[in-house]
């Protein structure tokens, strides 16, 4: 979900299309129109005209730029997409880009075009750079599958070669540096080399783009040459290339750039890419290329999904006004996506575009009419019952993070190296405080007690909630169990005070229990027991060990119990 910055004047210019008069748009109209692109206005600066827009749809990279947003609004206003002329260019006289053998094992695909006649403006350049970054980062998975380079066309002599070379064989001055260095050096010292070098790990030859004069244009997907790869305001001839590992994504990305530059008034000149190996689009691939992703679907599918009768004509109208090319018969529509989109996986994707194009407000809501019986899970019912009983016995309910630290959950409870101290821990720790799931409830209660010595006494606390018991016999390596923990803390508290509570609880949930003496490091020896019910230990009760209290820096005695509610709930 990228957030981009655009300028209102730039947007208004693009809303008109090349050569037409600027179309103004108010902020209210803009917010309304942003529904067409699943966008949300996050901020604006009325003085500079700067707008910050968040785009939700991760499958619509064409919308992550000012041109794309403007285009979707423009198409809706005009009722259809004006065709892009460059798609019907003659193939013979095209500039060429040749791919070196062996590239299929490194970074197999490339697409490119030239764009002339558009004088790059400040805002246009900012958009070019932003689009390049957002697409490579989020659509291109951090340049792994797609990366983009833009150059000054005038400095390049065709044909360009997408070559494979030894790391020390080619050197040039990369963007952001003053001196020439080899590709190998760039991987070691250039910030972009350090950031993205991982993509090329294990390759003994590296990709490089060079022109007919053997001049290096760039080292994809790492960095451009400073000489030809630094576009400036005022340039009017550009060369755009996209390299990557997925041909359709590479072509789509180039299509988006071609459409964007054409929308700004550039003449797009396609380039023929020649591969020494087969691709799904053949050995010579002219780009940009309309991949014409299309689907034939019954109108009834759309009507059923939307719950509304529309007819083929209305469906066709809505989709055409959303950029599709549509052929309609009485019962079917055949829809083709525009060149800058490929996100048609399923008929439902078309259904949504019909709804968005017509506007969600166009659909009257209908209450689902099916009768269903509501209810709580058994464990929630049991949990609610014991919560009510605990409240009746004067306990204050607390609610805690389930994520805690091994220090609190295990060490402060004197459980290092014991079975009770086994934890489900996080591998990618961000903060020690949130690095393990609690395996029992008492540390959650002690956390509150430790922070509350100024709240007047007595303290009677409880929490009913989930814990994760480490258990390698389980498919998930742990069991999620709902437990009830209760604790009393004040100067004169003792075992029998908490015992009475447990006794009362079991009486009212109508279960028999007994206490059996056990050894448990968290409690005072001789004042701790297992709560046994139907022959199974289902909990523990006792006076907390003074050393535990010390480690939590608690200065009043505390008694506590914990019961596995899951076991009670599973009984008939």
């Amino acid at each position: 979900m990228p957030t981009i910055t655009i300028f209102k004047q730039d947007l208004e210019g693009l809303l008109a299309g090349p050569g037409e008069a600027c179309q103004s748009i108010t902020i209210e109209q803009l917010e309304e129109s942003l529904m067409l692109v699943k966008g949300e206005l996050k901020g604006q600066n009325p003085d500079s005209g700067e707008l910050r827009i968040e785009l939700q749809d991760s499958n619509r990279p064409d919308l992550w730029c000012c041109e794309g947003i403007a285009r979707q609004i423009r198409v809706k206003r005009q009722g259809s997409l004006a065709p892009y002329g460059f798609l019907s260019a003659k193939r013979k006289a095209l500039k060429r880009l040749n791919v070196a053998p062996g590239m299929e094992k490194v970074r197999p695909f490339v697409a490119a075009c030239a764009a002339t006649g558009y004088h790059v403006t400040q805002e246009g350049l900012a958009q070019l750079i932003q689009t390049q970054e957002k697409l490579a980062e989020m659509f291109g998975r951090k340049r792994k599958t797609v990366s983009i380079g833009i150059y000054r066309l005038a400095a390049i002599e065709f044909p360009v070669v997408y070559d494979l070379v030894k790391p020390e064989k080619v050197s040039f001055t990369p963007l952001g540096m003053d001196t020439a260095m080899t590709l190998g050096e760039m991987l070691l010292v250039h910030p972009k080399g350090l950031e993205f070098g991982g993509i090329l790990v294990g390759q003994d030859r590296l990709p490089v783009l060079r022109d007919a004069k053997q001049q290096a244009l760039s080292f994809p997907p790492i960095i451009n040459s400073r000489e030809v790869g630094e576009v400036q305001v005022g340039d009017d001839a550009l060369f755009v290339e996209v390299t990557g590992t997925d041909l359709s994504m590479v072509v789509l990305t180039l299509n988006i750039f071609a459409a964007n530059l054409a929308d700004r008034g550039a003449v797009i000149e396609p380039i023929a890419v020649r591969y020494p190996y087969k691709t799904s689009l053949g050995k010579t691939v002219v780009t940009p290329q309309d991949l014409k992703k299309s689907q034939k679907l019954p109108v009834s599918t759309i009507e059923q999904a939307l719950g509304q009768t529309l007819g083929a004509k209305e469906v066709a109208k809505a989709l055409t006004a959303y950029g599709y090319e549509v052929k309609a018969s009485s019962k079917h529509v055949t829809v083709t996506l525009p060149l800058y989109r490929q996100d048609l996986m399923h008929a439902m994707d078309v259904v949504e575009d019909v709804a968005i194009s017509r506007g969600y407000g166009d659909f009257l809501s209908v209450m689902p009419s099916d009768f269903t019986v509501g209810g709580l899970s058994r464990i929630e019912e049991v949990s609610d019952r014991v919560r009510t009983l605990m409240v009746g016995m004067g306990f204050q309910e607390v609610i805690s993070n389930i994520l805690g630290s091994p220090q609190d959950l295990r060490d402060a409870m004197r459980l290092e190296g014991t079975e009770w101290g086994q934890l489900v821990e996080v591998a990618n720790v961000m903060s020690q405080n949130f690095s393990a799931l609690r395996q029992w409830m008492l540390p959650s209660l002690l956390r509150v007690e430790a922070a509350s010595n100024r709240a007047f006494y007595p303290h009677r606390l409880f929490e009913a909630g989930e814990v994760a018991k480490f258990d390698l016999k389980q498919p998930l390596g742990s069991r999620t169990v709902t437990v009830l923990g209760g604790m009393i803390a004040h100067a004169d508290t003792h075992f029998s005070e908490i015992h009475s509570c447990v006794d009362t609880l079991f009486y009212y949930v109508n279960q028999a229990y007994s206490l059996e003496p056990i050894q448990h490091p968290s409690f005072l020896p001789g004042r701790v027991g297992a709560i046994v019910s139907e022959g199974k230990p289902i909990g523990v009760i006792g006076e907390l060990h003074p050393e535990v209290l010390e480690r939590w820096q608690i200065s009043v005695p505390a008694v506590a119990f914990e019961i596995e509610l899951t076991q009670l709930a599973e009984r008939p």
């Binding site: 939307l306 399923h346 949504e352 968005i356 809501s365 689902p368 903060s431």
Partner: protein, 520 residues
């Protein structure tokens, strides 16, 4: 205040004192007699008298001050042993007998006396001619008696454990007592002189009226507490119950109660059940399969990397995954399989699907339900604890509740989806106005964002929803359309609880939990 409400407000001790005047309202009674007649302890009496004076029901008729002499702790010590003057005199006499030279320093060292005590005693003895100071600062006994030393011994014996009026002593002794009484700057002295104030009292006009009224209504004994005994023998009829000042602040108690955030979630739970939703539960630890793959999130999806989800350290993978779901989901990802989709077009990695994560979205629970032959028509919900790899601050929690669910049925479509969201807006947020915005979720199409005008918060996003993609439902064995919905309630909860920091939902402060009252 009129006289009867004044009488009602009287403390039982005050009533007792006033009652001593009932026989003769014009009497002038000294303290001793008041004590005797009322039968009160001196401390109770003096409290009651002060209260009555403050209320102007009683006036002081006479006041006499009598100096009373008693022994201080030092004095009692001197009585047990010797006073410094006696010690000095006896040391000088011993020296005269043995012929040893005796200096002031010798006395100080031997008798353990303070310099001031020694010099005071020597000065007095020298004045009386009982002692001489000779060459070299040595002391010599003259053999003459010291009237002061003898008088002090006599006084110590006389005052031991008792007191006497100063005037009862002869003039010479009075002088000695005053010279050796504790004063400011002279703390180590044997005698103390205190002023005993003897007062006599009479009733004021209002007091007379009150006493008369008390005697007229018969002095009912006032009690502060109704007791079982009073009820049992019926004697409450002869008692008066002291009236309380009920406008005082009540003492604070800490009741047992539910946690306010939990209570809020309970109301949501109840609402959902009343709308026909059945609760579902799921584990805290999930496989990537149920958490993401089953929801058609491609394995290269950016929200699946280590900066978004917590991975489990040990074990790293589930020991098994349920078939036929894994194969079907893998197929849906690769080429769509039987779902009518083109799929994501990549090689699905089953090992990756087995990796264990902390549940990052409640939708994982819905995915399990879809695979477990849910009822059709059916409505399900869960309030599931979820975990995200997020920096914790005032608006981000790493550990939070998600309220999510599904609705299955033949009649489910885009318009019934909007209808359900309308219902949520009304029932959960009490909102009459709603807006539906296009949204994106990997597992739904079409997708909707629900915005409502909350009565307190204005326009806010209440939740997201959509129709589950066929790529989600068909591999899990569900052939009817399914609504997936989720509600974002934390902001509403925070307003209802009056807090501004999301971390306070799980606060460790008992004081805060006790004092928070939910407004919902």
């Amino acid at each position: 205040m009129d006289i009867s409400s004044l009488i009602d407000s009287l403390h039982p001790l005050e009533v007792k004192v006033l009652s001593t005047f009932v026989a003769d309202p014009s009497a002038v009674l000294p303290t001793e007699q008041l004590a005797q007649t009322s039968g009160l302890e001196p401390s109770q009496l003096s409290m009651a008298v002060e209260w009555l004076l403050a209320k102007s029901l009683l006036t002081v008729e006479t006041e006499t001050v009598t100096p009373i002499v008693s022994l201080t702790k030092i004095g009692e010590l001197y009585f047990e042993k010797y006073a410094p003057i006696e010690q000095v005199l006896s040391a000088a006499r011993d020296a005269a007998t043995t012929g040893k030279r005796l200096t002031i320093q010798d006395i100080q060292a031997r008798e353990g006396l303070e310099p001031a005590e020694v010099s005071g005693a020597i000065g007095q003895l020298k004045k009386e001619g009982a002692l001489l100071i000779v060459q070299g600062g040595c002391l010599e006994s003259t053999g003459r008696p010291s009237p002061t030393a003898e008088a002090i011994r006599g006084l110590l014996q006389q005052l031991h454990g008792t007191t006497h009026e100063l005037q009862a002593f002869p003039e010479a002794h009075r002088q000695i007592i005053q010279d050796h009484a504790v004063k400011r700057g002279k703390a180590k002295e044997p005698f103390r002189i205190d002023d005993r104030v003897a007062r006599s009292f009479k009733l004021s006009a209002a007091g007379t009226e009150a006493a008369q009224q008390l005697s007229a209504q018969g002095v009912l004994e006032e009690v502060s507490q109704l007791t079982p005994e009073l009820l049992k023998d019926g004697s409450w009829r002869t008692k008066r119950f002291r009236k309380y000042t009920i406008s005082l602040r009540a003492p604070r108690i800490a009741p047992g109660k539910k946690h306010p955030y939990r209570e809020f979630l309970d109301t949501v739970k109840t609402k959902l059940v009343s709308m026909g939703f059945q609760e579902m539960r799921g584990p805290l630890v999930e496989t990537e399969f149920w958490n993401m793959d089953a929801l058609f999130m491609p394995q290269f999806h950016p929200a699946r990397d280590i900066h978004d989800v917590y991975f489990v350290k040990e074990p790293k993978q589930a020991s098994s995954l349920a078939e036929p779901f894994v194969s079907r989901v893998a197929q849906a990802h690769q080429d769509g399989g039987v779902t009518g989709s083109t799929g994501w077009n990549y090689a699905f990695d089953v090992e990756r699907a087995r990796r264990l994560v902390l549940r990052s979205q409640g939708t994982a629970v819905s995915a399990h339900t879809l695979a477990a032959q849910p009822a059709v028509p059916g409505k399900y919900f869960s309030i599931a604890r979820c975990f995200r790899y997020d920096q914790v601050d005032a608006t981000h929690a790493t550990d939070f509740f998600q309220v999510e669910g599904i609705v299955l049925g033949e009649d489910i479509n885009f318009r019934t989806l909007l209808g359900l969201l309308n219902l949520f807006a009304r029932e959960v947020a009490q909102a009459k106005e709603v807006k539906f915005l296009p949204a994106y979720f990997p597992f739904t199409e079409p997708s909707v964002e629900l915005h409502v005008r909350h009565p307190k918060l204005g326009w806010m996003e209440l939740g997201g929803a959509g129709l589950f993609r066929s790529e989600v439902t068909l591999p899990l064995g569900v052939t009817v359309p399914v609504i997936a919905w989720g509600l974002g309630l934390d902001r509403m909860a925070m307003v209802a609880l009056g807090i501004h920091d999301i971390r306070e939902l799980f606060t460790d402060s008992l004081e805060l939990i006790r004092s928070t009252k939910g407004d919902f």
